[in-house]
Symmetry: C2
Subunit: 486 residues, 2 copies
């Protein structure tokens, strides 16, 4: 059923004309439904520590990662997008004809011209729905957020015809053998976007920071692996956090009447700051960086508070009252102090969002949205309603945004979203733990066979879960054929 | 100066809050300013016919192409985007701080992760404006249209803060040695998007057709060349035209009160059909295909007319009254008849849009917008005001849309757009005609050096026009450095 019969493309001309008057943005636009796909195999990070001969805890404590999902040669970016999109449509009983916009965010490029979106059109073929805007957007881990913003904008624009938008954020994150390899992962998140959403995006507060940097990029087109300057990338992430944080709170305070509870007079008088939010959710390249980001936010928030009222500055931070942000990215002593001071905040507001990141690893564009799913899975409908979420999206290169959302007060709407996610934990448990030798072998196979044609994959289809699309063949013209596990 | 001071991010909180009420879509959103960049060298298609030993007229008449622009190893997708974007900002005296959205459409991928958009952020560095949404969108020649739609949607959304959007459509189109090579080209178009535009996009009529096809794609990531199934691609183009045409006119007639002249009562009573438009503008892979598309539209329009009133069917087409569209793509006899019957329409409404396509060749994502520029350059302000344009965008793989626009009635607004384009013809004339031997040599150099690092380009910088960005160096980490011709 379309969201809004009045504006739907199939409606009569008179009612369509009527819809041009009055308020033009539908209410409560945001995420109505979500689904996630992750590989059926994982390597345990403790196994990997032992296998790689590194100190115990290097990956599990140092990076904050527990397990890492990976795929063999049976899956590619198109197959995981097919799997998660079809799964979402089925779970939430959305008819393919009711989708009017579909956009993919990914940096797992297997064709320089043909978008993944065109492959997904196969899911709509039987319904006859070919009128679906959107192609695919790329900039590192940020493409999902760009696609989400475009989807929201479409729904608020004059071109919206009452149908839903779909956003798919998906990536296969693999690194060359070496120090960065344990920070890989793989996942795909699909989101149904429309009015009367479960997670409603706040208006007028999106803040963005973009710059030209070579911190992580993929210039060697024949390889699946990125070029990474790890220390620079960590610094860029925190720098983007600084910029987005300050701009977000500038915008939030300019628009605070819309963000605050209109019935709570005392709330309206105060400035919006970090404690306003119940969940603080990040793009998670590895969980330890997220923890450091929450720590840094403690400093950022205090600097903003003191600009408003010097007495509100945390006295334990006194030494850093006049710190120059741009010079502090490598200040380990400050970082340690901030980690301690922010630990309660981290445990309460952010840690619940990291479950999938710990279990699967970095999913690039899907990472932030997997964190949203984890947060939602961490609590009950009763506790989650009306919760305020702050989100930070980062893509190397670089592109970053901070934005916010409020969980609906409507329990029925939230329950519907959560019902679609009940199989996530069971699916995580069903996965197969694979020894590091097999993991290395698989990645070597991917490396050797990447971008070759013709190619017939050899991976074991029986390990894939029901509903998973997989490659059956890549012919000499690079045409890819897929089947589905029944 | 921002478009709308009231909604601008720097405005006071009270006026920003006030802007949330009432009508939410700004008026007359569309293209305010345009600029085009094309290479300083070209090969003449008659020279190429002789050099390739093909029959005289094969390229010039068979394809409808006169000259083809190309670049050596001094230019890449980032450099041509830098050149055209800076040129537009300077020409129209737009301050970098007044841009709030910038998106690139391209299929010339030189990095699988880092978007061209991030490179363009260097143009905004001095102004301190880092809060610019948008990354880059990819699906063959369609990415510019996708980006344009996202820019328009952003301006109509709640996230718009009164600043302009920029859309850049750019590509370097090169083919492997052989039959397809003469259909290459290179160009970049930048467009400034906002309200009170010179070319105002019509609302609620965008029609889209997307499908999963392998007609033209770039699966060999290590090569700059596409895989092309020429006959299939021609058929897909026409098939997408059929679908978009019918859906466009369905939507246009459902929303005809908004599209028609409210003062002309007789006009409001009739259905909207092809003759409604003064300019019919296409993505032009080669000009002959555009001519065939106008011919096919003659059939499509007659089939729609007869559904409304059988007596309106062109009697010369009687034989095709019940033609099955999907079986007629290779009907040469019908095509010939349609070419004759539509020739006046083509000469009047489409031919003026093909000047740059004939002179430069296929510019992929930039092609449709170069055709818009050609159309604008073909006439005077007096004749162009209030003209209605129908546009068809096609990207293989496939993604296609039909949409429409009206040239402003405001001569000052149109004059401003046209003033920025006065140097296009002189720049075309200034180009250097290069013999086919040199052209082949240059393409071989690009082929040999594509995606290698470190690399120091050898091309002659002195042939580039003032304001052109060029590569000075690609280091071993693939970092690219650019300079500008003063």
């Amino acid at each position: 059923m379309p969201v809004n019969q009045i504006q739907n493309g199939t409606s009569s001309s008179s009612s369509a004309a009527a819809a041009t008057n009055g308020c033009k943005w539908p209410e409560n636009v945001g995420i109505i439904a979500m689904d996630i796909y992750f590989p059926s195999s994982y390597v345990d990070q403790t196994d990997l520590e032992e296998f790689n001969g590194v100190s115990k805890g290097k990956y599990t404590i140092g990076l904050g990662q527990l397990k890492m999902g990976f795929t063999d040669d049976r899956e590619d970016i198109s197959s995981i997008c097919l799997t998660v999109t079809e799964s979402l449509l089925k779970k939430y009983q959305i008819s393919p004809v009711d989708i009017g916009f579909l956009m993919i965010g990914t940096e797992t490029i297997i064709d320089k011209s043909k978008s993944i979106k065109t492959v997904l059109m196969d899911l709509f073929k039987d319904s006859g729905n070919t009128d679906i805007e959107g192609i695919h957007a790329t900039n590192a881990c940020y493409g999902g957020t760009a696609s989400l913003f475009h989807a929201i904008d479409w729904i608020e624009s004059s071109s919206w015809d009452g149908r839903y938008a779909l956003v798919v954020a998906a990536d296969i994150a693999v690194y060359a053998s070496g120090a960065a390899r344990p920070t890989g992962g793989c996942g795909a998140v699909a989101m149904l976007i429309g009015p009367n959403a479960a997670i409603v995006l706040d208006r007028k507060v999106r803040s963005t920071y973009m710059a030209n940097v070579y911190d992580f990029y993929k210039p060697d087109l024949s390889s699946e692996y990125p070029y990474v300057d790890g220390p620079l990338s960590n610094q860029c992430y925190l720098q983007a956090l600084d910029q987005c944080f300050n701009l977000y709170f500038d915008k939030a305070n300019r628009n605070r009447d819309e963000l605050l509870n209109h019935n709570n007079h005392s709330e309206q008088q105060s400035m919006i700051e970090l404690s306003h939010f119940d969940g603080i959710i990040f793009h998670a390249p590895y969980c330890k960086l997220v923890q450091k980001s929450v720590a840094r936010m403690h400093l950022l928030n205090n600097l903003r508070l003191q600009a408003h009222d010097p007495s509100r500055f945390d006295t334990k931070l006194e030494k850093y009252r006049n710190v120059k942000l741009e010079e502090s990215y490598n200040d380990r002593e400050m970082e340690k102090l901030l980690l301690t001071l922010s630990s309660e905040n981290f445990n309460k507001r952010t840690d619940p969002s990291l479950m999938l990141a710990r279990e699967i690893g970095n999913m690039y564009t899907a990472s932030l949205y997997a964190c949203v799913i984890s947060f939602i899975l961490s609590d009950s409908v009763e506790n989650l309603t009306d919760k305020r979420l702050l989100l930070f999206s980062y893509g190397s290169g670089l592109a970053a945004s901070m934005f916010s959302a409020r969980v609906t007060k409507d329990k029925a709407i939230l329950s519907r979203l959560m019902k679609g996610l009940t199989d996530v934990q069971p699916r995580l448990q069903q996965r197969q733990r694979v020894p590091p030798t097999k993991f290395e072998e698989t990645l070597n196979l991917r490396e050797k066979t990447h971008n070759i044609a013709p190619y017939e994959p050899t991976g074991d289809v029986s390990s894939l879960m029901a509903g998973t699309y997989y490659i059956t063949d890549i012919n000499q013209k690079y045409h890819r054929t897929y089947s589905k596990v029944q």
